[in-house]
Protein backbone atom coordinates (compact mmCIF):
# COMPACT_ATOMS: atom_id res chain seq x y z
CA UNK A 1 0.00 0.00 0.00
CA UNK A 2 2.64 2.52 1.06
CA UNK A 3 4.63 2.35 -2.17
CA UNK A 4 1.87 4.35 -3.83
CA UNK A 5 1.09 6.57 -0.88
CA UNK A 6 -0.69 8.89 -1.13
CA UNK A 7 -2.99 7.66 -3.91
CA UNK A 8 -3.91 10.04 -6.72
CA UNK A 9 -7.17 10.97 -5.02
CA UNK A 10 -6.12 11.96 -1.55
CA UNK A 11 -6.49 14.70 1.01
CA UNK A 12 -2.76 15.43 1.06
CA UNK A 13 -2.78 16.06 -2.68
CA UNK A 14 -5.99 18.07 -2.72
CA UNK A 15 -4.77 20.43 0.01
CA UNK A 16 -1.97 21.33 -2.46
CA UNK A 17 0.83 21.35 0.09
CA UNK A 18 4.32 22.04 -1.20
CA UNK A 19 7.59 21.28 0.58
CA UNK A 20 11.20 22.26 0.85
CA UNK A 21 13.66 20.32 2.98
CA UNK A 22 17.01 21.55 4.21
CA UNK A 23 20.01 19.35 3.59
CA UNK A 24 20.97 19.18 7.27
CA UNK A 25 17.91 16.98 7.99
CA UNK A 26 16.95 19.09 10.98
CA UNK A 27 14.45 21.45 9.38
CA UNK A 28 11.78 21.52 6.70
CA UNK A 29 9.23 23.95 5.35
CA UNK A 30 5.79 23.46 3.87
CA UNK A 31 3.16 25.75 2.42
CA UNK A 32 -0.62 25.51 2.36
CA UNK A 33 -2.70 27.81 0.16
CA UNK A 34 -5.72 28.88 2.21
CA UNK A 35 -8.90 28.27 0.24
CA UNK A 36 -12.48 28.78 1.36
CA UNK A 37 -12.97 25.02 1.51
CA UNK A 38 -10.64 24.72 4.53
CA UNK A 39 -12.17 27.65 6.44
CA UNK A 40 -14.77 27.84 9.16
CA UNK A 41 -17.97 29.83 8.68
CA UNK A 42 -16.08 32.81 10.12
CA UNK A 43 -13.79 32.85 7.08
CA UNK A 44 -10.52 31.72 8.63
CA UNK A 45 -8.51 28.54 8.16
CA UNK A 46 -9.81 25.85 10.44
CA UNK A 47 -7.44 24.68 13.20
CA UNK A 48 -7.82 21.13 11.90
CA UNK A 49 -6.55 22.15 8.47
CA UNK A 50 -3.54 23.85 10.07
CA UNK A 51 -3.02 20.74 12.21
CA UNK A 52 -2.97 18.64 9.04
CA UNK A 53 -0.23 20.85 7.60
CA UNK A 54 1.68 20.52 10.88
CA UNK A 55 1.18 16.76 10.97
CA UNK A 56 2.50 16.27 7.45
CA UNK A 57 5.60 18.45 7.72
CA UNK A 58 6.30 17.38 11.29
CA UNK A 59 5.84 13.71 10.53
CA UNK A 60 8.09 13.86 7.50
CA UNK A 61 10.86 15.63 9.40
CA UNK A 62 10.53 13.28 12.37
CA UNK A 63 10.80 10.25 10.08
CA UNK A 64 13.99 11.71 8.67
CA UNK A 65 15.36 12.34 12.15
CA UNK A 66 14.45 8.81 13.28
CA UNK A 67 15.95 7.04 10.26
CA UNK A 68 16.68 4.19 9.85
CA UNK A 69 13.89 3.67 12.38
CA UNK A 70 10.28 4.63 11.84
CA UNK A 71 7.89 6.73 13.94
CA UNK A 72 4.44 6.78 15.51
CA UNK A 73 2.88 10.10 16.37
CA UNK A 74 2.34 10.44 20.10
CA UNK A 75 0.93 13.93 20.36
CA UNK A 76 0.33 17.16 18.48
CA UNK A 77 -0.35 20.58 19.96
CA UNK A 78 -1.38 23.71 18.10
CA UNK A 79 -1.94 27.27 19.27
CA UNK A 80 -3.41 29.68 16.74
CA UNK A 81 -2.92 33.41 17.31
CA UNK A 82 -3.90 35.00 14.00
CA UNK A 83 -6.45 34.36 11.26
CA UNK A 84 -5.30 32.83 8.00
CA UNK A 85 -7.83 33.96 5.41
CA UNK A 86 -8.63 32.69 1.92
CA UNK A 87 -6.12 33.86 -0.67
CA UNK A 88 -3.23 33.79 1.77
CA UNK A 89 -0.56 31.12 2.13
CA UNK A 90 0.45 29.60 5.46
CA UNK A 91 4.06 28.52 5.78
CA UNK A 92 5.03 25.84 8.30
CA UNK A 93 8.65 25.96 9.49
CA UNK A 94 9.55 22.75 11.25
CA UNK A 95 12.68 22.07 13.25
CA UNK A 96 13.90 19.14 15.28
CA UNK A 97 14.03 19.90 18.99
CA UNK A 98 15.15 16.45 20.03
CA UNK A 99 16.09 13.30 18.15
CA UNK A 100 16.72 10.57 20.72
CA UNK A 101 16.80 6.81 20.69
CA UNK A 102 13.13 6.48 21.63
CA UNK A 103 11.62 9.92 21.07
CA UNK A 104 11.64 12.69 18.48
CA UNK A 105 10.22 16.16 19.24
CA UNK A 106 9.43 18.67 16.51
CA UNK A 107 8.43 22.32 16.70
CA UNK A 108 6.54 24.02 13.90
CA UNK A 109 6.17 27.78 13.52
CA UNK A 110 3.27 28.90 11.34
CA UNK A 111 3.59 32.24 9.54
CA UNK A 112 1.60 33.94 6.82
CA UNK A 113 2.85 35.52 3.62
CA UNK A 114 3.39 38.83 5.46
CA UNK A 115 5.73 37.07 7.92
CA UNK A 116 3.15 37.46 10.72
CA UNK A 117 2.90 34.62 13.23
CA UNK A 118 -0.21 32.52 12.66
CA UNK A 119 0.54 30.01 15.39
CA UNK A 120 2.94 27.56 16.93
CA UNK A 121 2.79 23.78 17.12
CA UNK A 122 4.70 20.90 18.63
CA UNK A 123 4.72 17.18 17.97
CA UNK A 124 6.18 14.15 19.75
CA UNK A 125 6.91 10.81 18.15
CA UNK A 126 7.86 7.38 19.45
CA UNK A 127 10.70 5.79 17.49
CA UNK A 128 9.89 2.29 16.23
CA UNK A 129 11.78 -0.39 14.33
CA UNK A 130 11.38 0.06 10.56
CA UNK A 131 9.04 -2.25 8.66
CA UNK A 132 9.26 -3.02 4.98
CA UNK A 133 5.94 -1.28 4.46
CA UNK A 134 7.17 2.08 5.81
CA UNK A 135 7.76 4.77 3.16
CA UNK A 136 11.28 5.78 2.17
CA UNK A 137 11.57 9.29 3.51
CA UNK A 138 14.69 10.21 1.57
CA UNK A 139 12.74 9.73 -1.64
CA UNK A 140 10.17 12.18 -0.27
CA UNK A 141 12.81 14.81 0.55
CA UNK A 142 13.52 15.81 -3.03
CA UNK A 143 13.41 19.60 -2.75
CA UNK A 144 11.30 21.46 -3.57
CA UNK A 145 8.32 19.16 -4.05
CA UNK A 146 4.56 18.90 -3.89
CA UNK A 147 2.09 16.10 -3.48
CA UNK A 148 -0.45 17.95 -5.63
CA UNK A 149 -1.20 16.64 -9.10
CA UNK A 150 -2.46 18.91 -11.89
CA UNK A 151 -6.08 18.04 -11.13
CA UNK A 152 -5.74 18.09 -7.32
CA UNK A 153 -8.03 20.45 -5.44
CA UNK A 154 -10.87 20.38 -2.93
CA UNK A 155 -14.07 20.17 -4.93
CA UNK A 156 -16.20 20.68 -1.82
CA UNK A 157 -15.64 22.00 1.72
CA UNK A 158 -13.12 19.90 3.63
CA UNK A 159 -15.71 18.68 6.12
CA UNK A 160 -17.98 17.49 3.30
CA UNK A 161 -15.08 15.68 1.63
CA UNK A 162 -14.33 13.95 4.92
CA UNK A 163 -17.97 12.96 5.33
CA UNK A 164 -18.39 14.72 8.68
CA UNK A 165 -21.82 14.19 10.20
CA UNK A 166 -22.70 16.23 13.27
CA UNK A 167 -25.18 14.04 15.16
CA UNK A 168 -25.53 16.07 18.36
CA UNK A 169 -23.90 19.50 18.38
CA UNK A 170 -24.42 20.23 22.08
CA UNK A 171 -22.74 16.99 23.11
CA UNK A 172 -20.15 17.21 20.36
CA UNK A 173 -21.14 13.88 18.86
CA UNK A 174 -19.67 13.73 15.37
CA UNK A 175 -19.28 10.72 13.08
CA UNK A 176 -16.63 10.58 10.38
CA UNK A 177 -16.02 7.55 8.15
CA UNK A 178 -12.53 6.17 7.56
CA UNK A 179 -12.12 6.49 3.80
CA UNK A 180 -9.20 6.00 1.42
CA UNK A 181 -9.12 9.72 0.70
CA UNK A 182 -8.09 10.47 4.30
CA UNK A 183 -6.02 7.46 5.36
CA UNK A 184 -2.39 7.67 6.44
CA UNK A 185 0.40 5.44 5.18
CA UNK A 186 -0.56 2.83 7.80
CA UNK A 187 -4.12 2.58 6.49
CA UNK A 188 -5.73 4.45 9.38
CA UNK A 189 -7.32 7.88 9.60
CA UNK A 190 -4.59 10.47 8.99
CA UNK A 191 -3.43 12.31 12.13
CA UNK A 192 -4.38 15.77 10.91
CA UNK A 193 -7.84 14.49 10.04
CA UNK A 194 -8.15 13.11 13.57
CA UNK A 195 -7.36 16.61 14.84
CA UNK A 196 -9.94 18.02 12.45
CA UNK A 197 -12.63 15.72 13.82
CA UNK A 198 -11.82 16.93 17.34
CA UNK A 199 -11.83 20.52 16.10
CA UNK A 200 -15.32 20.13 14.63
CA UNK A 201 -16.67 18.35 17.71
CA UNK A 202 -15.24 20.91 20.14
CA UNK A 203 -16.43 23.82 18.03
CA UNK A 204 -19.98 22.46 17.89
CA UNK A 205 -20.19 21.77 21.62
CA UNK A 206 -18.48 25.00 22.71
CA UNK A 207 -20.66 27.12 20.42
CA UNK A 208 -23.64 25.51 22.04
CA UNK A 209 -22.24 26.04 25.54
CA UNK A 210 -21.09 29.63 25.06
CA UNK A 211 -23.78 30.83 22.67
CA UNK A 212 -21.01 32.53 20.71
CA UNK A 213 -19.45 31.82 17.28
CA UNK A 214 -16.20 30.67 18.84
CA UNK A 215 -13.57 28.85 16.80
CA UNK A 216 -10.94 26.41 18.00
CA UNK A 217 -7.63 28.13 18.62
CA UNK A 218 -5.81 25.48 20.66
CA UNK A 219 -5.60 21.73 20.24
CA UNK A 220 -3.73 19.28 22.49
CA UNK A 221 -4.03 15.93 20.78
CA UNK A 222 -2.82 12.70 22.39
CA UNK A 223 -2.90 9.76 20.00
CA UNK A 224 -3.63 6.46 21.74
CA UNK A 225 -4.58 4.15 18.86
CA UNK A 226 -5.46 4.10 15.19
CA UNK A 227 -8.90 4.52 13.67
CA UNK A 228 -8.94 1.88 10.98
CA UNK A 229 -12.56 0.88 10.56
CA UNK A 230 -14.84 3.75 11.47
CA UNK A 231 -16.87 5.65 11.84
CA UNK A 232 -14.69 7.68 14.14
CA UNK A 233 -17.03 9.06 16.78
CA UNK A 234 -16.48 11.96 19.15
CA UNK A 235 -17.91 12.93 22.51
CA UNK A 236 -17.20 16.19 24.30
CA UNK A 237 -17.07 17.23 27.94
CA UNK A 238 -17.24 20.97 28.48
CA UNK A 239 -14.63 21.93 31.06
CA UNK A 240 -15.27 25.68 31.08
CA UNK A 241 -17.42 28.06 29.06
CA UNK A 242 -17.47 31.85 29.14
CA UNK A 243 -18.39 34.39 26.49
CA UNK A 244 -14.98 34.75 24.92
CA UNK A 245 -13.46 31.36 25.64
CA UNK A 246 -14.37 27.76 26.22
CA UNK A 247 -12.38 24.65 27.02
CA UNK A 248 -13.42 21.10 26.18
CA UNK A 249 -12.18 17.56 26.44
CA UNK A 250 -12.85 15.50 23.32
CA UNK A 251 -12.60 11.75 23.17
CA UNK A 252 -12.53 9.89 19.87
CA UNK A 253 -13.32 6.21 19.47
CA UNK A 254 -13.36 3.88 16.50
CA UNK A 255 -17.04 2.94 16.65
CA UNK A 256 -16.51 0.10 14.19
CA UNK A 257 -13.82 -1.45 16.38
CA UNK A 258 -15.90 -1.93 19.51
CA UNK A 259 -15.53 1.74 20.40
CA UNK A 260 -11.78 1.40 20.86
CA UNK A 261 -10.41 4.64 22.29
CA UNK A 262 -8.27 6.42 19.69
CA UNK A 263 -7.50 9.88 20.87
CA UNK A 264 -7.93 12.31 23.74
CA UNK A 265 -7.97 16.00 22.85
CA UNK A 266 -8.16 19.17 24.87
CA UNK A 267 -9.47 22.08 22.83
CA UNK A 268 -9.79 25.78 23.52
CA UNK A 269 -12.13 27.92 21.45
CA UNK A 270 -12.11 31.70 21.43
CA UNK A 271 -13.66 34.68 19.65
CA UNK A 272 -12.16 37.48 17.64
CA UNK A 273 -8.73 36.39 16.50
CA UNK A 274 -6.64 39.28 15.11
Amino acid sequence: MTAAYPPDQHLLRDLRFSFDHDGDRTSSRAWMPVVEEVCTDTGRARAGALATLVDVIGGGLAATAAAPGWIATADLTLSVVRCARPGSVVEARAQVLRAGRTTVVIEVALVDDREEDVGIATMSFAVLPRRDSNPEVDRMRDSPSTMAMPHSRLARPLLDELGVEVRDAARGVVDVPVIDWSRNSMGAMQGGVVATVADVAAEAALRSATGEPVVVTELYVTYLGFGRIGPVRSTVDILAAAAARGTARVELVDAGAENRRMTVVYAVATRDLP
Partner: protein, 267 residues
Protein backbone atom coordinates in the same frame (compact mmCIF):
# COMPACT_ATOMS: atom_id res chain seq x y z
CA UNK B 1 10.62 13.74 35.88
CA UNK B 2 8.62 11.81 38.37
CA UNK B 3 10.32 11.92 41.72
CA UNK B 4 8.95 8.75 43.24
CA UNK B 5 11.77 6.52 44.39
CA UNK B 6 12.56 4.23 47.21
CA UNK B 7 15.25 6.46 48.69
CA UNK B 8 14.67 9.69 50.56
CA UNK B 9 17.22 11.70 48.58
CA UNK B 10 15.94 14.42 46.28
CA UNK B 11 12.56 14.73 47.93
CA UNK B 12 12.74 18.42 48.86
CA UNK B 13 10.49 19.47 45.99
CA UNK B 14 7.82 17.01 47.07
CA UNK B 15 8.07 18.20 50.66
CA UNK B 16 7.76 21.80 49.53
CA UNK B 17 4.60 20.95 47.57
CA UNK B 18 3.29 18.85 50.46
CA UNK B 19 1.41 16.07 48.73
CA UNK B 20 -0.01 12.73 49.69
CA UNK B 21 -0.56 10.03 47.09
CA UNK B 22 -2.40 6.75 47.35
CA UNK B 23 -2.87 3.85 44.96
CA UNK B 24 -6.57 2.98 44.99
CA UNK B 25 -7.14 0.40 42.31
CA UNK B 26 -4.46 -1.02 40.13
CA UNK B 27 -3.02 1.85 38.09
CA UNK B 28 -5.28 4.47 39.60
CA UNK B 29 -3.66 7.04 41.87
CA UNK B 30 -5.35 9.71 43.95
CA UNK B 31 -3.28 12.56 45.33
CA UNK B 32 -4.11 15.42 47.65
CA UNK B 33 -2.40 18.76 48.02
CA UNK B 34 -3.13 21.84 50.06
CA UNK B 35 -3.66 25.32 48.66
CA UNK B 36 -0.86 26.45 50.92
CA UNK B 37 0.01 30.16 51.35
CA UNK B 38 3.54 29.71 50.03
CA UNK B 39 2.18 28.28 46.75
CA UNK B 40 -0.18 31.17 45.96
CA UNK B 41 0.30 33.64 43.12
CA UNK B 42 -0.63 37.28 42.76
CA UNK B 43 -4.34 36.58 42.34
CA UNK B 44 -4.54 34.57 45.54
CA UNK B 45 -4.91 31.19 43.85
CA UNK B 46 -2.46 28.36 43.50
CA UNK B 47 0.34 29.14 41.07
CA UNK B 48 0.17 27.23 37.80
CA UNK B 49 3.75 26.10 38.37
CA UNK B 50 2.81 24.45 41.65
CA UNK B 51 -0.25 22.85 40.09
CA UNK B 52 1.84 21.51 37.20
CA UNK B 53 4.39 20.10 39.64
CA UNK B 54 1.64 18.23 41.47
CA UNK B 55 0.13 16.95 38.21
CA UNK B 56 3.59 15.75 37.16
CA UNK B 57 4.07 14.01 40.51
CA UNK B 58 0.75 12.15 40.51
CA UNK B 59 0.76 11.32 36.81
CA UNK B 60 4.42 10.34 36.99
CA UNK B 61 3.88 7.98 39.91
CA UNK B 62 0.99 6.37 38.07
CA UNK B 63 3.11 6.01 34.93
CA UNK B 64 5.98 4.55 36.94
CA UNK B 65 3.77 1.92 38.49
CA UNK B 66 2.46 1.08 35.02
CA UNK B 67 6.04 0.63 33.80
CA UNK B 68 6.89 -1.93 36.48
CA UNK B 69 8.46 -4.43 36.49
CA UNK B 70 10.26 -3.46 33.25
CA UNK B 71 11.52 -0.11 34.42
CA UNK B 72 10.63 3.30 35.74
CA UNK B 73 9.73 6.50 33.92
CA UNK B 74 10.94 9.95 33.06
CA UNK B 75 8.47 12.66 32.03
CA UNK B 76 8.77 13.72 28.41
CA UNK B 77 5.70 15.84 27.82
CA UNK B 78 3.18 17.55 30.10
CA UNK B 79 0.08 19.29 28.79
CA UNK B 80 -2.51 20.89 31.05
CA UNK B 81 -5.48 23.20 30.89
CA UNK B 82 -6.30 25.21 34.00
CA UNK B 83 -9.97 26.12 33.90
CA UNK B 84 -10.61 27.56 37.36
CA UNK B 85 -8.55 29.12 40.15
CA UNK B 86 -7.81 26.93 43.15
CA UNK B 87 -8.35 28.99 46.25
CA UNK B 88 -9.86 26.69 48.89
CA UNK B 89 -8.37 23.21 48.84
CA UNK B 90 -7.55 20.55 49.48
CA UNK B 91 -7.06 19.67 45.84
CA UNK B 92 -7.69 16.13 44.68
CA UNK B 93 -5.66 14.71 41.81
CA UNK B 94 -7.22 11.69 40.09
CA UNK B 95 -4.87 9.92 37.71
CA UNK B 96 -5.74 7.11 35.36
CA UNK B 97 -3.82 5.22 32.71
CA UNK B 98 -4.55 6.13 29.09
CA UNK B 99 -1.96 3.97 27.37
CA UNK B 100 0.96 1.73 28.26
CA UNK B 101 3.14 1.17 25.23
CA UNK B 102 6.46 -0.53 24.76
CA UNK B 103 8.47 2.68 25.22
CA UNK B 104 6.12 5.09 26.92
CA UNK B 105 3.18 5.53 29.24
CA UNK B 106 0.41 8.11 28.95
CA UNK B 107 -1.54 9.11 32.05
CA UNK B 108 -4.37 11.56 32.58
CA UNK B 109 -4.76 13.71 35.68
CA UNK B 110 -7.90 15.57 36.69
CA UNK B 111 -7.73 18.14 39.48
CA UNK B 112 -10.70 19.15 41.62
CA UNK B 113 -10.99 21.56 44.53
CA UNK B 114 -12.68 19.62 47.32
CA UNK B 115 -13.09 22.78 49.35
CA UNK B 116 -15.00 24.48 46.55
CA UNK B 117 -17.77 21.96 45.88
CA UNK B 118 -15.43 19.71 43.95
CA UNK B 119 -14.98 22.30 41.21
CA UNK B 120 -12.88 21.16 38.27
CA UNK B 121 -9.62 23.08 38.42
CA UNK B 122 -7.47 21.51 35.73
CA UNK B 123 -6.99 18.58 33.41
CA UNK B 124 -3.69 17.30 32.21
CA UNK B 125 -2.01 14.56 30.22
CA UNK B 126 1.50 13.36 31.04
CA UNK B 127 3.60 11.30 28.66
CA UNK B 128 6.52 9.43 30.21
CA UNK B 129 9.31 7.40 28.65
CA UNK B 130 10.13 4.02 30.15
CA UNK B 131 13.75 3.50 31.13
CA UNK B 132 15.66 1.18 33.38
CA UNK B 133 17.43 2.98 36.25
CA UNK B 134 21.01 1.97 36.96
CA UNK B 135 20.02 0.25 40.20
CA UNK B 136 16.83 -1.16 38.82
CA UNK B 137 13.30 0.10 39.26
CA UNK B 138 12.19 1.12 42.75
CA UNK B 139 10.58 -1.48 45.00
CA UNK B 140 7.23 -0.57 46.51
CA UNK B 141 4.82 -2.13 48.94
CA UNK B 142 1.50 -2.28 47.13
CA UNK B 143 -0.99 -0.74 47.25
CA UNK B 144 1.27 2.25 47.51
CA UNK B 145 0.84 5.18 49.90
CA UNK B 146 3.20 8.18 49.87
CA UNK B 147 3.10 11.11 52.25
CA UNK B 148 5.64 13.76 51.27
CA UNK B 149 4.35 16.49 53.58
CA UNK B 150 7.12 18.14 55.55
CA UNK B 151 6.81 18.24 59.32
CA UNK B 152 5.47 21.59 60.50
CA UNK B 153 8.37 23.76 61.59
CA UNK B 154 8.78 27.14 63.23
CA UNK B 155 10.24 28.91 60.20
CA UNK B 156 7.93 30.24 57.47
CA UNK B 157 8.05 28.52 54.11
CA UNK B 158 9.23 30.93 51.39
CA UNK B 159 6.97 31.64 48.41
CA UNK B 160 7.81 29.98 45.10
CA UNK B 161 9.98 32.74 43.52
CA UNK B 162 12.09 33.07 46.67
CA UNK B 163 12.34 29.33 47.15
CA UNK B 164 13.59 28.93 43.59
CA UNK B 165 15.88 31.96 43.91
CA UNK B 166 14.49 33.53 40.75
CA UNK B 167 16.46 36.35 39.15
CA UNK B 168 14.83 38.57 36.50
CA UNK B 169 17.86 38.44 34.25
CA UNK B 170 16.36 40.32 31.32
CA UNK B 171 13.08 41.77 30.09
CA UNK B 172 12.23 38.43 28.54
CA UNK B 173 14.16 36.01 30.77
CA UNK B 174 14.53 34.65 34.27
CA UNK B 175 17.26 32.52 35.83
CA UNK B 176 17.71 30.22 38.78
CA UNK B 177 20.67 28.31 40.15
CA UNK B 178 20.51 24.54 40.31
CA UNK B 179 20.41 24.34 44.10
CA UNK B 180 20.64 20.88 45.74
CA UNK B 181 17.08 21.08 47.09
CA UNK B 182 15.72 21.55 43.55
CA UNK B 183 17.13 18.27 42.30
CA UNK B 184 15.19 15.04 42.03
CA UNK B 185 16.40 11.63 43.28
CA UNK B 186 18.48 11.25 40.11
CA UNK B 187 20.37 14.48 40.81
CA UNK B 188 18.94 16.58 38.00
CA UNK B 189 16.55 19.51 38.19
CA UNK B 190 13.09 18.29 39.18
CA UNK B 191 10.64 18.36 36.27
CA UNK B 192 8.11 20.20 38.37
CA UNK B 193 10.65 22.96 38.96
CA UNK B 194 11.09 23.26 35.20
CA UNK B 195 7.33 23.75 34.94
CA UNK B 196 7.43 26.35 37.71
CA UNK B 197 10.23 28.22 35.95
CA UNK B 198 8.25 28.21 32.69
CA UNK B 199 5.23 29.60 34.52
CA UNK B 200 7.28 32.33 36.20
CA UNK B 201 8.93 33.30 32.90
CA UNK B 202 5.51 33.68 31.29
CA UNK B 203 4.30 35.74 34.23
CA UNK B 204 7.40 37.94 34.02
CA UNK B 205 7.11 38.64 30.31
CA UNK B 206 3.39 39.34 30.42
CA UNK B 207 3.68 41.60 33.45
CA UNK B 208 1.67 39.41 35.78
CA UNK B 209 -0.33 37.19 33.44
CA UNK B 210 -1.77 33.92 34.71
CA UNK B 211 -1.01 30.64 32.94
CA UNK B 212 -4.13 28.89 31.67
CA UNK B 213 -2.79 26.34 29.18
CA UNK B 214 0.61 24.82 28.79
CA UNK B 215 2.41 22.12 26.87
CA UNK B 216 5.91 21.42 28.11
CA UNK B 217 8.38 19.18 26.29
CA UNK B 218 11.27 17.94 28.39
CA UNK B 219 14.18 17.58 25.97
CA UNK B 220 17.23 16.96 28.16
CA UNK B 221 18.16 16.93 31.84
CA UNK B 222 19.34 20.07 33.63
CA UNK B 223 22.53 19.04 35.40
CA UNK B 224 24.76 22.10 35.85
CA UNK B 225 22.96 25.44 35.85
CA UNK B 226 22.22 28.24 36.00
CA UNK B 227 18.87 27.51 34.39
CA UNK B 228 17.58 30.25 32.12
CA UNK B 229 14.06 30.55 30.70
CA UNK B 230 13.45 32.93 27.80
CA UNK B 231 9.89 33.75 26.77
CA UNK B 232 8.76 35.15 23.43
CA UNK B 233 5.24 36.31 22.69
CA UNK B 234 3.95 34.50 19.60
CA UNK B 235 0.70 36.42 19.54
CA UNK B 236 -2.07 37.94 21.56
CA UNK B 237 -5.72 36.86 21.50
CA UNK B 238 -8.79 38.07 23.32
CA UNK B 239 -8.21 35.41 25.99
CA UNK B 240 -4.54 36.21 26.53
CA UNK B 241 -1.06 35.90 25.14
CA UNK B 242 0.52 32.79 23.62
CA UNK B 243 4.19 32.48 24.50
CA UNK B 244 7.03 30.19 23.54
CA UNK B 245 9.30 29.55 26.50
CA UNK B 246 12.71 27.95 26.02
CA UNK B 247 14.61 26.61 29.01
CA UNK B 248 18.40 26.23 28.83
CA UNK B 249 21.02 24.76 31.10
CA UNK B 250 23.48 27.59 30.64
CA UNK B 251 26.38 25.64 32.14
CA UNK B 252 25.82 22.80 29.72
CA UNK B 253 25.05 25.15 26.81
CA UNK B 254 21.97 23.25 25.74
CA UNK B 255 18.24 23.64 25.45
CA UNK B 256 16.53 21.39 27.97
CA UNK B 257 12.84 22.17 27.54
CA UNK B 258 10.45 24.05 25.27
CA UNK B 259 6.96 25.09 26.29
CA UNK B 260 4.02 26.85 24.70
CA UNK B 261 2.02 28.76 27.29
CA UNK B 262 -1.25 30.64 27.08
CA UNK B 263 -1.33 33.37 29.67
CA UNK B 264 -4.47 35.29 30.61
CA UNK B 265 -3.47 38.91 30.86
CA UNK B 266 -6.73 40.49 32.00
CA UNK B 267 -9.23 39.89 34.74
Amino acid sequence: MSDAHATDAGRDVSRYMGMTMQELDELRIVGHGAVAPHLLGRGGSLRAGALLTMIDSVGGLNAGLAALPDGWVVSTNLAAQIVAPSRAGPLRFDSGLLRRGRNNVVTAVEVRDEGAADTLVASGVLTSAILVPQNGPPQWDRPLTLDTRAPTGPSPVPPVPEWLGVRMSDADAIEIDLAPELRNPWGILHGGVVAAVVDLAAEHVTGGGVTTDVVLHYLAPNRIGPIRAVARTVGTRRDGAVLRVEVCDVGAARTTAVAVVTCATTG
